[in-house]
């Protein structure tokens, strides 16, 4: 095992730094003529609306500010920092640096979303083409870039599904949305946000997929939709999908397919061909936009012909000569966020697809699946670790393991192991969303970006965790040891009297008993 220790800077909170009167940025000049004419312009603010006391922002010079945040960055772990093979559902892959340089060009970074189309033909062409490419990849008839993340794409699909039933005058009747328990949590929560009742389908203990009989028992004239995730976060591909689609369509419901895990099937199988009415893909996962530590992301939605009219506006159109934005879609759900979406992610996806080409895209999926099955094989004999569901089957992009046996044997569970692994110089792994149907879960996702040598190192770390749990559990219980901060007091995490979301709240709560 290579040694690792995070940089430690004992970096104060920025409010503890600096000195009165210091500042880090000089503003553009206000010309003398303007200044003299409008010297007292703030006196026009109605008295009750004037700020009486300047906000207590930090007072630092430019280099001090830079160094403070640079130190903080050194106490953070990105894909670029080391092996990030453990973060399942998140599809952590390499984000090409050239794409960042392109996003920084003023002709992208400093253009306004409402500019005349004459002055944005370049970005409109990129958006138009990337939509066409995503249509080809997903097998859907029209793709729209508006949603600002994967969950937001799922919600946008629910809004369109609601608009569809409303237009058919069936919304009052169609109250139910059916969701497998292993579908991403944004699916049931989006359905609930849009006012639907959620019916949950438990996974079968052997297959990890809902039983067809269970689905048949809950469908009815009240069914508005089924919201699926395929492949699941367990890495299982739900091969019943054709049956689900048939059953749901027979009762007049729609199938909304969450494609956040599409990385394993790009160029291999398409949501549209499997019968989905709507789907979303994640440009910040499968299509290489960096995660940014939870955004900004992009979750374009794709729909079949029948549902195009419900897509958010505006949409990019091309008349053979010029690209233009069209908002004239009377049945549209309107907006689910402002402007056009996180177009920097579309720009990166354009560059990424262009670099890889058709063959490269399929290779991404194949290598991601290969890497995952390789890791599964390497971990198959780790003591205390098991892989529930679908025995003997291969998995797609990721696999959900269980440390249940290890916990029984040693008292050490996945939460503790997940702190200890950080001592080895890798990101913490993804355990699982709630509820933990797989006990003591661990869900790595190696993706196509990680070399065999690094996969081997990652597997050695997992093996080391198990070895330590059986031989030296104390080192795990007291972990992490090699990070920038020692173990925290967890009480503010669930006691609102101690919680401090701002420095000001902290100062107040610290001084009160």
């Amino acid at each position: 095992m290579r040694r690792y220790h995070c940089a430690i800077w004992d970096e104060p909170v920025i409010f503890e730094m600096g000195q009165t009167g210091e500042r880090g940025h000089i503003l553009p000049a206000v010309e003398d003529e303007i200044k003299s004419a409008f010297q007292n312009v703030t006196s026009r603010i109605p008295p009750g609306m004037r700020r009486k006391q300047a906000p207590r922002l930090p007072e630092l010079s430019e280099p001090e500010t830079l160094t403070h945040y640079l130190h903080l960055s050194q106490q953070n772990f990105g894909f670029d920092s080391g092996i990030v093979a453990g973060v399942g559902t998140c599809t952590m892959k390499y984000s090409p640096k050239v794409n960042e340089q392109l996003c920084r060009m003023p002709q992208f970074a400093d253009i306004h979303p409402l500019q005349d189309e004459e002055t944005t033909q370049g970005i409109l062409e990129i958006m138009y083409k990337v939509c066409k490419w995503l249509e080809e990849i997903t097998g859907m008839d029209e793709v729209n870039l508006q949603p600002g993340g994967g969950s937001h794409g799922v919600f946008t699909n629910v809004c369109m599904m609601r608009a569809y039933h409303k237009l058919n005058k069936e919304l009052e009747q169609r109250t139910d949305v059916i969701v497998p328990l292993l579908a991403h949590p944004c699916n049931p929560s989006s359905a609930a946000t849009a006012g639907f009742k959620v019916i949950t389908l438990e996974p079968d203990e052997e297959t990890g997929c809902p039983d067809l009989g269970a689905l048949k028992a809950v469908v009815s004239k009240h069914t508005a939709a089924m919201m699926l995730t395929d492949p699941y976060d367990t890495g299982v591909f739900d091969s019943n999908i054709e049956e689900y689609v048939k059953i749901i369509h027979e009762v007049g419901g729609l199938v909304l397919l969450d494609q956040a895990n599409a990385n394993s099937i790009l160029g291999v199988v398409r949501a549209g061909d499997m019968g989905a009415d709507m789907c979303q893909v994640n440009l910040h996962k499968s299509f290489s936009s960096p995660h940014g530590g939870m955004g900004p992301g992009s979750g374009p939605v794709g729909v079949k012909e029948e549902f195009r009219k419900f897509l958010p506006v505006p949409v990019v159109e091309f008349d053979g000569k010029k690209y233009r934005l069209n908002s004239d879609r009377p049945y549209s759900v309107g907006k689910t966020r402002s402007f056009l979406g996180n177009i920097q992610c579309a720009l990166r996806a354009y560059a990424w697809i262009m670099a890889l080409g058709a063959e490269g895209i399929r290779e991404v999926a194949e290598v991601a699946v290969l890497n995952n099955n390789y890791v599964m094989k390497k971990l198959s004999d780790v003591r205390g670790l098991s892989l529930p569901y679908a025995k003997g089957h291969h998995r797609m992009q990721e696999a959900r393991f269980s440390w249940e046996q290890l916990k029984k044997d040693t008292g050490i569970g996945t939460v503790e192991l997940n702190q200890r692994i950080e001592d080895f110089g890798v990101a913490n792994y993804f355990m699982s969303h709630q509820p933990w149907v797989v006990p003591e879960p661990m869900t790595p996702e190696p993706t196509e970006s990680i070399s065999k040598a690094d996969l081997d190192r990652f597997c050695e770390m997992i093996r080391q965790l198990s070895h330590e749990a059986y031989t030296n559990p104390e080192i795990i219980r007291t972990a992490p040891h090699n990070c920038a901060v020692s173990r925290i007091d967890p009480t503010p995490m669930d006691d609102p009297k101690k919680t401090a979301l701002t420095w000001n709240a902290y100062l107040k709560k610290r001084s009160s008993p």
Binding site: V41, G48, A54, G78, I123, H152, P296, Q344
Partner: protein, 443 residues
């Protein structure tokens, strides 16, 4: 690796995918390109766009042109931040601290002690905040000004449909100010929140913040205020005039417009348990550690609050949001400091007022329509000229100027009107050129 797994080909790994769905052909996509080819071809496409540097633009309306200091770009370009994920207290200490600092500085601007990390954008936060108010009060109606950004209204309706009625409150035609009498008529025992925007969508400052909050509170409703945060360098923090929830758009705080991809939602509320429990997002709290004097940071995890733990019973559905922009905003606010943010807001007001003065000197043009104090945006009315706004706009383009947003169809009662925006980066020369061009166009 195939041998290790025990298969002969990768195809075998896809055994669970029904054969009929396996794509038998290659995707219809371009051929592979080198990094050089990608770069040169994308650059060629992007060079068809005109940035602010090549063409002065007077557009705002929810995404504003401000200068982004180089240090902001430097920090959020760091791979450790840019390519990280949700993370954890220990391995992602740096990001957690930076976002806690973001939350803290936003708190200073808006005058509330509980602040969320960055969300999608102002519009979606409006929707989330309306739902939050409905949960806190147990009521099903939200009152919003008739002069609200139409996009925000559309998004709010998508978030509220079937649960919360969104009703519009009228305004005084001379001043644009909210019609308090109409508010008092429409507010009821079912009103969860009264929402105003300050500065308003059309740029004027709503003077009755305190009165509106009082009306809301008298009827047991919450007061909700939407802000453009730079204005808070000179405007009173909404927390001071009674706001229980503050929402807003963080993009002006050091994030490039990026064709609208730079938006980031702000959400703050009173630091009280019943509010915290209804916050629909991940929140970062500061805490102590085993080492004396050391700070740690952690997700605030009041059990079962989010969909990650409670699925359909969670308070929201959102996952990946706009976290990276929050770091840029933290750097920006730290660079400016208390004096800088005040100077910035003053400079914006001075320049926008100069623009209003120059434009209103043109015969036939009225700027602004409303007799109220304005911040950085203002209405320009062309009713007494023969030109509709879109003709003025096309003519300005010929002068190399991107004019304001045409709002003629958004508020028909305001006639032929555009919404203009002037910030600290507009020069006197650019404003003079705009005025000269407009004068020629409407002559």
């Amino acid at each position: 690796m195939l041998r290790e797994i025990g298969v002969k080909s990768i195809d075998e790994l896809y055994a669970d995918v029904p054969k009929k769905f396996i794509l038998k052909r290659g995707l219809n996509l371009p051929k592979t390109s080198s990094e050089y080819e990608v770069r040169s071809q994308v650059m060629a496409l992007l060079s068809k766009n005109k940035s602010f540097y090549e063409m002065p633009s007077f557009l705002g309306a929810g995404c504003w042109p401000h200068y982004v200091p180089a240090v902001c770009d430097e920090i959020i370009g760091r791979g450790e931040f840019l390519t990280s994920y949700t993370g954890d207290t220990y391995i992602d200490l740096g990001r957690f601290q930076a976002l806690f600092e973001f939350q803290s500085m936003i708190g200073e601007l808006v005058g509330l002690d509980a602040v969320s990390w960055p969300m999608y954008d102002w519009a979606t936060v409006c929707g989330e905040a309306a739902r939050m108010a409905a949960r806190i009060t147990g009521r099903q109606e939200v009152l919003v000004p008739k002069i609200i950004h139409p996009e925000r209204l559309l998004v709010m309706k998508n978030y509220c449909e079937g649960l919360i009625d969104v009703k519009l409150i009228d305004y005084h035609p001379e001043t644009g100010q909210l019609d308090l009498e109409d508010l008092k008529r429409k507010i009821s025992s079912n009103t969860a929140a009264v929402y105003i925007e300050n500065p308003s969508y059309l740029g004027f400052i709503e003077a009755q913040g305190k009165e509106i909050s009082d009306v809301a509170h008298d009827r047991g409703a919450l007061s909700m205020v939407g802000v453009e945060p730079i204005s808070l360098g000179v405007l009173a923090p909404p927390g001071e005039y009674g706001a229980d929830i503050v929402v807003g758009e963080g993009q002006p705080l050091g994030v490039h417009m990026s064709y609208g991809g730079g938006v980031m939602g702000i959400l703050a509320c009173r630091d009280e348990e019943q509010f915290l429990a209804e916050m629909p997002t991940l929140l970062l709290t500061i805490t102590s550690t085993e080492r004396q004097g050391e700070h740690g940071f952690s997700w605030w995890a009041l059990p079962k609050r989010l969909h990650y733990e409670s699925r359909e019973k969670g308070k929201s559905f959102t996952g990946t949001n706009s976290a990276l922009w929050g770091i840029s905003a933290a750097v920006y606010m730290a660079l400016l400091g208390p004096q800088g943010i005040r100077e910035l807001a003053e400079s914006v007001m001075q320049k926008s007022h100069y623009a209003m003065k120059r434009i209103s000197e043109i015969k036939g043009i009225k700027a602004p329509i409303f007799d109220s104090a304005h911040f950085e945006e203002f209405t320009v009315n062309f009713d007494r000229t023969r030109k509709p706004v879109n003709r003025v706009h096309k003519a300005l383009l010929k002068h190399g100027i991107q004019g304001g947003k045409d709002i003629t169809s958004e508020f028909p009662e305001l006639g032929k009107t555009a919404l203009y925006c002037v910030t600290e980066i507009h020069t006197k020369e650019q404003i003079d050129s705009l005025a000269a061009a407009l004068k020629g166009i409407v002559r």
